[in-house]
């Protein structure tokens, strides 16, 4: 067959657009002319590419219901099966490197939109939520503190990891690793962290909490259900429940195992007891002089009556004193001494209150 006038065949747009279905009624038809053969090729091209006309939209390729398979023979070097390149030079143009779409009404919810297998195991999968595969985005259940399942490309030891039996964690654990060290893990009881840090917005510095390095047992504290009053402090009940309590402003009483007062030995150690020396031989008695009281005023008034204590002197004088008639503005100091000429103000006092 000789193409007599192929160059001039498309005499009009209608002729140029003409395609012929080679299988119009489920019956194979044979072309009878060269022009007919071209029209059948045009038909195939237009339908494979999914375009209205065989010559339009050359930038799109639509394989429609075809399954596309690419088989690569055994290779020893790096090969990339799908390669796409795009220069994102125009900020106004949105580009999707890889895009899959499916209507959310599939009768088979176990359908998988994307799945990556390695050695027969699913390493990455995107599926319809709710099926046996559970999550929209799934990762292989592997990973460890040292080798997280999701990791930073520049630091493979920093990322997220899931259950790892060799780490002693259960299936419902999600861990966070930084440089190969577990810094946090979520599980059924909540969040476990090695440190809890807060960053100061202005300075960028950090403050936070961390557990004691040598804790021998687990301790869990339950916070109060409401804020406390101004000036109150947190107190434990001994079994992990914290509550706000007011600070006592009195100095009354000390725990039995606290020795806050005492004399010191030459080496500086406290002596918690003393002996009462008997009177010196020949001494028949001691004279004790009493003051009538000195009125003392504070520098600043207290809102409520404080507690006041008077301290002795550094001189070799046996004396003791008490603060009496204590008010919000002052008190009366009374002193007893074995020295009649002792300056009754030769001492010091402390007033404690609010």
């Amino acid at each position: 067959m000789v193409f007599s006038c192929l160059d001039d065949y498309s005499a009009s747009a209608g002729q140029m657009q003409t395609t012929v279905d080679p299988y119009p009624a489920s019956v194979v038809s044979l072309p009878t002319t060269g022009q007919g053969e071209l029209e059948r090729l045009r038909f195939m091209w237009a339908h494979v590419m999914g375009t209205t006309y065989w010559y339009t939209h050359p930038e799109n390729i639509n394989f429609r219901h075809r399954r596309v398979e690419m088989h690569m023979a055994a290779i020893t070097g790096l090969q990339e099966m799908f390669v796409g390149q795009q220069t994102w030079s125009n900020a106004s143009v949105r580009f999707h490197g890889v895009a899959f779409g499916v209507a959310d009404q599939a009768s088979h919810p176990e359908s998988v939109l994307a799945r990556f297998h390695v050695g027969g195991n699913t390493k990455f999968m995107v599926s319809k939520l709710g099926d046996l595969h559970a999550a929209t985005l799934g990762l292989h259940q592997g990973g460890s503190i040292a080798n997280p399942a999701i990791f930073h490309l520049s630091s493979a030891t920093t990322g997220l990891w899931f259950h790892t039996t060799n780490q002693g964690a259960a299936l419902n654990h999600l861990g966070v690793s930084i440089s190969g060290t577990q810094v946090a893990r979520f599980h059924a009881n909540g969040l476990v962290v090695s440190q809890l840090l807060f960053q100061h917005a202005a300075s960028g510095r950090w403050v936070g909490f961390k557990a004691h390095a040598t804790s021998s047992s687990t301790a869990l504290w339950t916070l109060p259900n409401a804020d406390g009053a101004q000036g109150t402090v947190l107190q434990t009940d001994g079994v992990g429940t914290l509550g706000f309590v007011a600070i006592t402003t009195t100095l009354l009483g000390l725990p039995a195992n606290v020795n806050a007062l005492g004399s010191r030995t030459a080496s500086g150690e406290f002596i918690q007891h003393a002996t009462l020396d008997p009177p010196t031989a020949g001494t028949t008695g001691q004279t004790l002089y009493a003051s009538s009281g000195s009125a003392v005023s504070y520098a600043v008034a207290f809102s409520s009556t404080p507690k006041v204590a008077w301290a002795g002197t550094t001189e070799n004088v046996d004396s003791f004193g008490f603060a009496t008639q204590i008010t919000t503005t002052g008190f009366t100091l009374k002193i007893w001494s074995r020295t009649s000429g002792e300056d009754l103000t030769n001492g010091a006092w402390i007033a404690h209150g609010t």
Partner: protein, 220 residues
């Protein structure tokens, strides 16, 4: 011994004494009147009561007002905790710092000891009578025996002995002049240091409430 002139009925005598004093003694307090200063801090403490020397042995307390601290605790205002107390009169905002409230302490029976202001309506002259043979100690008190009215009570004693009890039905409001010692047979008080309770507002310069929850003093 001290003789005090108390009450409005003695106003004429007080005026007469003042008239005599003016010819020989200045009405200023003089160097022997020494203020015993205290800062009110966050309390409502206030006093305009002053003492002046108007005659060789006569001290005058001029009309004044004295406000006590009451018994309270100052806290940061918390609406949830304090709004009801404010409405019940069991707390009040601090005028100097509205972010704080003064919560009156409640006794076991539910009553409170709130701040009270007392008034001294007329001048009171106190004549100090030295003992002829020995030195004596003296002090002047502000008392009350009628609602919100101040009375002036002068007391004296021998050194080392307690002062006598207050007159019947009198209740101590505050010590106005702390005890001072008058020499035997003294003709005047020129050489006697008389400390007078003097209230200043706020806190000592450069300090705040946080500096004064605990106070100490070493007089050496």
């Amino acid at each position: 011994m001290i003789v005090s002139r108390v009450g409005r009925s003695r106003a004429g005598l007080a005026a007469l004494a003042l008239g005599v004093a003016l010819s020989a003694w200045p009405t200023s307090s003089g160097a022997q009147i020494t203020p015993r200063t205290i800062y009110a801090g966050e309390t409502p403490l206030a006093s305009t009561c002053a003492v002046t020397l108007v005659a060789p042995l006569t001290l005058r307390v001029t009309p004044c007002a004295f406000t006590t601290t009451g018994q309270a605790r100052v806290q940061r205002f918390n609406p949830k905790e304090h709004q009801a107390l404010l409405e019940q009169g069991k707390a009040e905002r601090l005028a100097a710092d509205p972010s704080k409230v003064r919560v009156w302490l409640q006794r076991r029976d539910g009553t409170t000891d709130t701040s009270q202001t007392y008034q001294l309506a007329a001048s009171i002259d106190v004549v100090v009578m030295p003992n002829a043979l020995e030195a004596t100690q003296h002090r002047i008190l502000l008392t009350t025996h009628r609602a919100r009215q101040l009375a002036v009570v002068a007391q004296s004693t021998r050194p080392g002995q307690d002062y006598p009890a207050l007159p019947a039905k009198h209740r101590l409001v505050h010590i106005l002049t702390f005890h001072f010692t008058v020499p035997a047979a003294a003709a005047d008080l020129a050489a006697v240091a008389i400390p007078v309770f003097t209230v200043l507002s706020g806190f000592p310069p450069g300090t705040t409430a946080e500096d004064w929850r605990t106070q100490t003093e070493d007089k050496r």
